[in-house]
């Protein structure tokens, strides 16, 4: 999707290892979000950011941390990956004004073995 990229697109990692996913935007949007998508659960918010160094937890934040040291990058870290964190992770960005929706990245498929 234009203006937002996620890396890596696919990753396989072992249980107990740390993993970092990156979201990069070129839209200069204030808000950035990390979601996970699992069958039967739809999209669940992990963490979000409303500015540089300003982040907050979503509904499924346990086991995840985030950092945003500059406007364009929002990093999601799995501190010690578990099999329950096998999922597809989506980053989204949004302008501050409420009339705007999200723009989503293409997703990262993470498998924890």
């Amino acid at each position: 999707d234009a203006g937002i990229t996620q890396s890596p697109r696919h990753k396989v990692t072992e249980t107990g290892t740390p993993v970092t996913l990156r979201c990069h935007q070129t839209e200069n949007h204030r808000y950035m979000y990390w979601y996970r998508q699992d069958p039967g659960h739809g999209l669940r918010l992990i963490h979000y950011s409303y500015g540089v160094k300003d982040t907050d937890k979503g509904e499924v934040s346990d086991g995840y941390s985030v950092s945003r040291s500059k406007t364009e990058d929002f990093l999601l870290t799995l501190e010690s990956a578990t099999s329950s964190q096998t999922s597809v992770y989506f980053c989204a960005i949004s302008a501050a004004e409420r009339v705007y929706g999200y723009t989503f990245g293409s997703g990262t498929r993470l498998t924890v073995v």
Binding site: G40, G42, A92, F104
Partner: protein, 112 residues
């Protein structure tokens, strides 16, 4: 609490027939409502939104949605379904705090 419900996990429709994907919402204040579509192995793409004004909003790919305040619904519609419309559809609401709330998604299959 804000929430969005999509009561149907799966909708099947024959090609050429009209389609409806249902969404109801619960939000304090005026709702800002959105529909997104997800094709396999892709991110979600914006289809349309309701902010204010006409209750019938038109969006991408010939889709439209009808906002009904009394029924707190925002159903997605298309007069004539295409096989290429087969995808996962998400309804969402944005609240005053800039949080989005998504439904669990409806899988649409258009049968040739």
């Amino acid at each position: 609490a804000q929430s969005v419900a999509q009561p149907e996990d799966q909708v099947n429709v024959a090609e050429g027939n009209p389609l409806t994907v249902k969404c109801t919402y619960s939000v304090s204040g005026n709702p800002y409502l959105f529909w997104y579509v997800q094709y396999p192995n892709r991110g979600l793409q914006f289809l349309l939104k309701y902010i204010t004004g006409d209750n019938l909003v038109k969006g991408s790919y010939g889709f439209e949605a009808e906002f009904n305040k009394s029924q707190t619904s925002f159903h997605l519609k298309k007069p004539s379904a295409l096989v290429s419309d087969s995808a996962l559809y998400f309804c969402a609401v944005r609240d005053k705090g800039n949080q989005f709330y998504f439904g669990t998604g409806t899988s649409l299959t258009v049968i040739p």
